[in-house]
């Protein structure tokens, strides 16, 4: 199977994730969509690694996973705190930081 298909899949997943971030209001869903985008990028990296025949892309993918894990820890904590204080997980409700 041609590696190009992996890239198409990655692009599809990335677009899905981006649409989710833009269109969904629930912070948990937005968060999951961000994860989806990150994993789409990982998929593309691994595919490139395969195409070029070296391990650079895979190493980068590991880095992304580690960073994503750290981000999940912080991000989920923020969302939980937000929910506790305002009883809502909608990102549009948290719009106080404006002029």
């Amino acid at each position: 199977m041609s590696p190009d298909n992996y890239l198409y899949l990655a692009a599809l997943l990335f677009t899905l994730g981006a649409c989710g971030v833009l269109l969904r209001r629930n912070a948990i869903v937005v968060f999951m969509c961000i994860e989806l985008m990150l994993n789409a990028a990982n998929l593309a990296l691994v595919a490139f690694s395969r195409m070029h025949g070296n391990l650079d892309g895979q190493i980068l993918a590991f880095f992304v996973m580690v960073v994503a894990a750290a981000e999940v820890v912080v991000g989920l904590a923020i969302i939980v705190m937000l929910y506790r204080s305002r009883h809502s997980a909608s990102v549009d409700d948290a719009s106080l930081m404006k002029l």
């Binding site: 833009l22 209001r25 990102v91 549009d92 719009s95 404006k98 002029l99």
Partner: protein, 631 residues
């Protein structure tokens, strides 16, 4: 001996510092401290004078280098003093008359609550004036020049609660500023031409310099001299300066500071000698002022303003003599010294009269005071005889020498100058006799003032009469002593040079003519004011009289020529500044303000809209990158 020179300046400077910073605890003894320090300077000056006398003729220049003020490559500004015959003469005059007037002020300012401050200012003036005449370079002279200007400002406006005094002080300061610009330009020209501004190098190399440059320097120096010495066209401040206390008028605005311009011209003699055009302008200024001042003096009813006109006129004589070159320098200084005696004496006499008359200055409200103030009358009378040139009193010698020097200029010029000065002498005799008759002779004309207090004229205390007596002795004897074997001219000769010129008329003829015009002047005044009682209210007078009462329209002229156009100019500039400059700046600020107001709407607080702009921006960046690669 050199080390004493600095002390001359230091003593009064110390007095000024102590008196002006010491506070009220010095109120009781401060005036005596100021007087003592002025007298200290005088004693030092006498010691130095005898030291100079003991030296050979060519060895009478002492230098004291205190320290280098600004030592930069090619620019050496030193705090250094030079004492030669010319400065010595001035130092003796300044400290001598200065000490006497300090003593006089002890009595005159007795009832003034701010007497300590007054003495502080007087000491400050002495220090600055001594610095002016002792400096060995033009820059230090400039420092003293500004110092006396400051002291003059402070003392004219001493009674600052009187609006007229405050205004007069400002007027004096501003008019002097015009002249000071001349001095600073002259110093800059000297520096670019000679590379230095020390007297020695500048004056010795003046003869080999281009005449154009020297004429420019000379005219700028003359502008400075006009400001300080109240010469036409910068004369307008002197009359108003009489708002200050009378001892100030005597010391600063008659005897010493106003003669600084003459000092400057004589000191810079080498420059003027090599620039005949500048000399001619000096002569013209002197001649115009001597007639101008005399005419003003004839019309004023305020005794101090009449004397101020006379001062202007007498300094005109000195300026004219200084413009004549080596035939006149020594006599300009000689007249300056004798004038210092008799004019200070006249002012102190006027102050004594005012002291006894509840500060009334209008001569038409005096009359017959000789019975009430005998000492004042006699001292004033002797000074009066000296100034009108009564034979064998000091004014006779010094003024005749100047008139003779005017004739000795030669040719038509000589005749014109001589005649103008003889006319001035007649006017001098006229206005002085008028003052004398209105003040001391005739019937008493004073009346109770608004509060019903009638003045009780009385003789002044001894602190005031002693200085007047000393000055009267000087007025009588100085001229004779100076003229003995031409001792004064020979004393100054190494500094100023001395030439006799060739006059078409002899010495005797000049003296005779001067005496004749003096008699005419006195006679005219006697006919007008001596034979019948003077009216208490001034008669309307002719056109000339009315103009002279308004100082020959000097203020109207200045107003029309400078003040009004200046006002319009500044108004126009303010308009342009408001509308154009401020308009551009404010418009720019408003534009940016409006723009930012619109831009900040983008920041709406919704995370998703920020995400849109992020994605959009990323998309644009990628698109641009790809496009660039494609191209």
């Amino acid at each position: 001996m050199e080390s004493l020179i600095g002390l001359l300046v230091a003593a009064p400077l110390l007095g000024a510092l102590v008196l002006l910073t010491g506070g009220r605890r010095l109120d009781r003894a401060g005036h005596w401290l100021g007087t003592a320090l002025a007298a200290t300077s005088f004693v030092l000056a006498v010691v130095l004078f005898f030291d100079l006398l003991g030296r050979a003729d060519g060895d009478r220049t002492l230098h004291q280098h205190l320290f280098s003020w600004v030592p930069v490559a090619g620019f050496q500004a030193d705090i250094a003093f030079q004492l030669d015959q010319l400065s010595m003469t001035f130092v003796l005059l300044i400290t001598g008359v200065g000490s006497l007037i300090h003593l006089y002020s002890v009595g005159y300012m007795e009832h003034d609550p701010r007497r300590r401050r007054f003495f502080g200012y007087l000491n400050l003036f002495l220090a600055a004036m001594l610095l002016l005449v002792l400096a060995d370079n033009y820059l230090l002279l400039y420092a003293g020049w500004e110092g006396v200007g400051l002291a003059s400002y402070l003392l004219i406006g001493f009674w600052q609660d009187r609006p007229r005094a405050a205004t007069a002080a400002k007027k004096a300061f501003i008019v002097n500023r015009v002249g000071d610009i001349g001095l600073s330009i002259a110093i800059m020209l000297m520096f670019t031409t000679f590379g230095t501004f020390a007297f020695g190098p500048v004056l010795s190399s003046a003869a080999e310099t281009g005449e154009g440059t020297l004429t420019a320097i000379g005219l700028m120096l003359l502008l400075a001299a006009c400001g300080k010495s109240a010469q036409v066209p910068l004369q307008s401040w002197l009359g108003d300066a009489m708002e200050g206390p009378t001892p100030v008028s005597a010391l600063i605005h008659a005897a010493t500071m106003v003669t600084a311009g003459v000092y400057l011209v004589v000191r810079s003699g080498a420059i003027f000698n090599a620039a005949p055009d500048a000399q001619t302008v000096v002569i013209v200024v002197g001649a115009v002022t001597l007639v101008f001042g005399a005419i003003v003096g004839c019309a004023k009813d305020d005794i101090k303003k009449a004397l101020a006109g006379s001062t202007m006129s007498q300094i005109g004589y000195m300026m004219l003599a200084a413009g004549l070159g080596p035939i006149g320098y020594a006599f300009a200084i000689m007249h300056l010294v004798t004038h210092g005696f008799f004019k200070a004496g006249l002012f102190l006499g006027a102050g004594s009269v005012m002291h006894g008359m509840n500060d009334e200055v209008d001569m038409r409200k005096y009359g017959g005071l000789r019975k009430y103030m005998p000492v004042t009358f006699i001292t004033f009378g002797l000074a009066y005889l000296a100034i009108i040139g009564f034979p064998y009193l000091s004014g006779f010698f010094s003024k005749d020498e100047i008139i003779y020097a005017g004739f000795a200029k030669g040719g038509t010029q000589g005749w014109i100058l001589g005649s103008v000065m003889l006319l001035g002498a007649a006017l001098t005799a006229y206005y002085m006799t008028r003052i004398m008759l209105l003040t001391f002779f005739g019937e008493k004309r004073w009346q109770p003032d608004a509060h019903g207090h009638e003045p009780h004229p009385h003789e002044s205390p001894a602190t005031m009469t002693i200085p007047m007596i000393v000055l009267a002795i000087g007025s009588v004897g100085a001229g004779f002593a100076f003229n003995l074997n031409e001792s004064f001219a020979h004393w100054l000769e190494p500094v100023t040079g001395l030439a006799h010129g060739d006059s078409p008329v002899g010495h005797g003829t000049v003296s005779l003519a001067a005496t004749a015009v003096m008699v005419i002047g006195v006679g005219a005044a006697y006919l007008q004011y001596g034979r019948r009682p003077a009216p208490v209210v001034a008669p309307a007078g002719s056109f000339v009289t009315r103009a002279a009462r308004r100082d020959l329209l000097q203020d109207d002229f200045n107003h029309a020529a400078f003040v009004t156009p200046g006002t319009y100019l500044t108004r126009g500039l303010v308009y342009v500044d408001h509308k154009l400059v401020d308009g551009v700046v404010n418009g720019l600020a408003a534009a940016f303000g409006g723009l930012s107001g619109r831009l900040r709407r983008v920041q709406n607080g919704y995370a998703r809209s920020y995400a849109v702009s992020m994605f959009g921006g990323a998309a644009v960046l990628i698109a641009v990158t790809l496009l660039m690669r494609a191209v």
